[in-house]
Symmetry: D2
Subunit: 359 residues, 4 copies
């Protein structure tokens, strides 16, 4: 078992960054070796630009304060030299995708293992990446980097993540929908001719920390709104990971008036009539050795049951004829949908128990 | 124009009842003639059974208090004699459907015009009514009463509501989904072979005033849950009013962590490719003379825009190929979804301007 | 009775502005004469600067849309010539105080009646104004303007507001606390030696429409925070209007995780022991002819009872010895705390019924 | 160090019970020995009476589910024989105070160590207990039991808790107010002549799991209400633990529209003028060896910073003259205000590190 690994986090000032810091600081395998928290040159803190030089971590995230010593940690200005000097082996990028496109290749060249939480390296098909309009799209370096990237969903790619140099941590919505559909798709049950509908709802932390009209309390509270209809960036992940053709799924995200949590309601048709027992068996088999997915035998999951956990909860209802099902999938967008899955990937990559530091 | 109509409300203690009281008390056509508020013998107030004898209205609904005189109104124990003595002509039943099944026939026999807010008389097909398991199902009186009932959605049945003796006020979810789909169905655009998905989300007032585990703040807050999958009572209304066959629509309600408001996200396919302009024209034409439906030309509606109004807001997005659309429909479940539509029906039934007292 | 008054609103893009627009558009005395909505040169819309030239009102505030014609209103670029050309007689300033300091004097010179919703003209003592640091403090024009200003709380200054040229609409917190304390102070009951504590809690709309870290949903939701301790700008209004010396009241505002509404909990001591009946009589007498204050005889008011109304609700509890009381005072910060009180002032100023357009 | 202690919990079905179960199941000192969860004979589950015989723990609290084995735990019907058979040494009573009054004496006689989360044994003065109207008040057994009870606030009574047979876990509001005031009272700084005001606000979980009109989402959401003015049961704890005379503090709780968390705003006067540094030093000294209290040097704490933690956060502002202070104290009512403090007491009682299993 690897021991004494040194980690670093770039982009700790956001919501996923805060959860990542919390998880890494209490991770049993990292005890005594807190991550290096490195500030991007122009990272913004509470709306004001700042070089983050020496800002105490607890000033940005007061909830991380304790009397034990984490209170002494400070953000340091990012440099490759800093990482080298500290002996960093694993670099978490909780940065915007533009930055991850730029930094991941260099980190790999410098021998670092990278776990990237952005959308920079998740998509293998160029057509699916078009929506991001990466400036370096098609460059040799980018293509080579992409070729090394493993989609960081241990339930689907555990063996490839073990040992991967670049893990592309999945999107929050994508995780919720893929985990619900992959077992049925893999079992060949889905009638794709009729199309799948994935109606997803997310808490406001998914919209990021920047104060905008959409993240204003007065916009989000006592409200519900759909957005990104037919155009959300996570759609490409669904196609690639579930194995769907364009147009075989409609995915609509909504902004919920809650801080965190995602619930996806997914409507499918089967090629032939199913029994409840048969469908349940498909899920049980697929997730038999997956500690972070909880399949609900008799009830539908709710957002409250997964908050502040790294679990994805899945349940379903079958119609009377057995031809249609409604699947409900829940997770905490900051944990299984971001920082928690990143730590799960860390565990798998380094050969530690998959739910270490997450239960 | 009819003048000086005397109204009565049974079931004012619930949320829809409170809104109905507020609307009737300020209705220009009813000025100076407040409704008779009649308590059911065993109506419960704040969890305690009460005969409602003489309870001041503002004790049940403090927000109705003012210094003008409404503060003097009291609930009176219900009796047919009371209604006769007060010269009541229009009776609103904001009662459970069991009670409406019993009282509506008698009210009609006594010559009263009835606007019933429950599910008692909305469904014309016996198969659709099965889910209610009415004890008097199939009785001659019940069938005769049902035959007189008009589904109280003025946008669809304006001329039949004018003059109707029994108006069956639609369900809140039903109103939201029917208003979104009827124009497209009536225009023959919908490909029903692929099925329609209606994913609906409602605030907690839709679950009623009774304190239950599901209406507890700790259950509903910071949460989202699906319920009634493949089995919700409003499904029959969708089939009958949109003109769909069984299995052509899947309707899933969710409980939102907000007090009021419904947003339905509806997924349809077209028989042939449509342009945005063509679909918009269908909506504009259908609702040309409907003051309480607002069609959004360029944006999707949100719950906040309809709260405390009687409007239903509708918008849509078309996919690139023009074969699929996502329609978003919003309303306030206590107004356009209940008490507001009831007053709209009153206006239409009595020949008053349709939005009188509602704008 | 004056008729056909033409009004104008500057600053309609904020939350109070939206409520003001709604109230004026439906005001019975202004029927057929919608306000002129004049955009400030650099007013920001949804975070983006805009000259507001020709922006439809319903694009800024979709909830104002209807099918009757209000949907056709547009913001016009502000100019004094515009106001003159339209025959504006009453100008509402829903602008930041810096702007109101500049524009109110000119408006008065041009013969307009001004109702200012900012803090620019509320304070008569220079020491109390210091917290605003007005650049024109002490100038002859400013002093002359201030001398004309009447504090716009009809319950205290009804006769002076009637006919006033410049009405300084009170602060939201100030209204809540002053209405609770003034009757007791005027009756000479308060023991000021022991000091008064006013612990106030406000919904997020009180923090304004600008997206900031504090108005971010993630900051405000599931949270409560105190701010402006010993330093909030509304303190001066409390001193002047209740007639207190510096240090005789401690006022602490808090940010509640709700969109709107204020509840103030106020702790007082009496010079001598009181009975419940005696204190209640003081309130009843003081507010006998005040249609917008509801004194609760037996219960404590709650925020829900005043939302979307222009009422201030007041109740109290007396301790066993009769020497101390806890007073609870509630209002809707956007109505009685801002736009509603502004319309109430309009009514009083023009001799209309005080609650016209507000009930 | 004691090892292999067997614990039992009665009353796991409530909110504090759920947190207690979660904490004990992951407590490092209890690894491999899950608590016995014993159902009271008439404990209600989700509103329905149930003997709890064999109900799986995760059916009551789905959020406790995992794939490791906790999912196999079931509630067992309570009996003293059950506890004896399992070798239970420490009994947590998360029961109503009526039940704790009855069971704690018997548990002590049977040699069990008891940590009681109710109000049954917190008050040493008979006059302060009057508000509970215990039926056994004054009985020899009750007086003897009370004499053994130690008020379970480690920050005040650490040495007496070590070894105590009966720990009376403090009230949630009491914890919040006492921790804020005790250092100042102990240092002799407080001017009690002018009286202290403690204005406290709590999330809805503090009102319990029973569905009532007050815990209905529609009552609590978008609202704020004061209750128990001059009469709340926690007042006696404040008097005894801070060392105040009757009438020297006014304590008013409010119901916040959030699931959990308490913020208390406390107004004090000093006997003589203080500096910020001097007051801060008092707090720092008092809590120097207290791992679960975080004193904020420069900012005021907020509820968000303590949610899902066992910390009490304290900060203050001093007025210009140094004679008055506003103290803000925050905690999570289910953790430091209930289950977390109970585990902290377990740690202290058994000689384990005070924050074991809590950080």
């Amino acid at each position: 078992m690897t021991e004494g690994i040194q980690t670093a986090v770039v982009g700790v000032s956001g919501y996923a960054g805060a959860e990542l810091a919390r998880l890494l600081l209490r991770h049993p395998q990292l005890r005594g070796r807190p991550p290096v928290f490195a500030g991007r040159p122009h990272e913004k803190l509470d709306g004001k630009e700042s070089a983050h030089r020496g800002v105490p971590l607890v000033e940005i995230h007061p909830q991380l304060a304790d009397n034990n010593g984490a209170g002494d940690l400070r953000l340091e200005p990012f440099s490759w030299e800093l990482l080298a000097a500290r002996g960093v082996e694993v670099l978490f990028l909780a940065t915007p995708h533009e930055q991850s496109r730029e930094w991941a290749p260099e980190a790999l060249q410098r021998g670092l293992r990278v776990i990237d939480l952005s959308g920079a390296w998740r998509l293998h098909e160029q057509s699916n990446r078009a929506v991001y309009a990466f400036p370096d799209e098609g460059s040799q370096q980018a293509l080579a980097t992409q070729a090394q990237a493993v989609y960081g969903m241990p339930e689907l790619h555990r063996s490839r993540i073990a040992g991967a140099r670049l893990v592309a941590n999945p999107g929050c919505f994508s995780t919720s929908v893929i985990l619900a559909l992959k077992p049925l798709a893999a079992a060949g049950l889905l009638d794709l001719h009729h199309g799948i509908v994935a109606d997803a709802k997310s808490g406001v932390s998914g919209a990021g920390k920047a104060p905008t009209p959409r993240t204003h309390f007065m916009y989000a509270a006592d409200n519900l709104s759909a957005y990104g209809v037919f155009s959300h960036r996570h759609t490409g992940e669904l196609l690639e990971q579930i194995g769907l053709g364009a147009g075989e799924i409609v995915f609509t995200p909504h902004l919920l008036p809650i801080p965190r949590g995602i619930l996806s309601t997914i409507y499918v048709r089967f090629k032939q009539a199913q029994t409840r027992a048969a469908v349940a068996q498909v899920y049980r088999d697929f997730y038999a050795s997956c500690p972070m997915v909880r399949f609900h035998e008799r009830t539908l999951p709710q957002i409250q049951h997964v908050l502040h956990t790294n679990y994805a909860d899945i349940g379903f209802e079958l119609d009377a004829g057995g031809m249609r099902a409604v699947i409900v999938s829940c997770l905490d967008n900051l944990l299984k949908g971001a920082a928690g899955q990143a730590v799960q990937n860390l565990n798998v990559a380094l050969g530690w128990p998959e739910s270490e530091g997450l239960a």
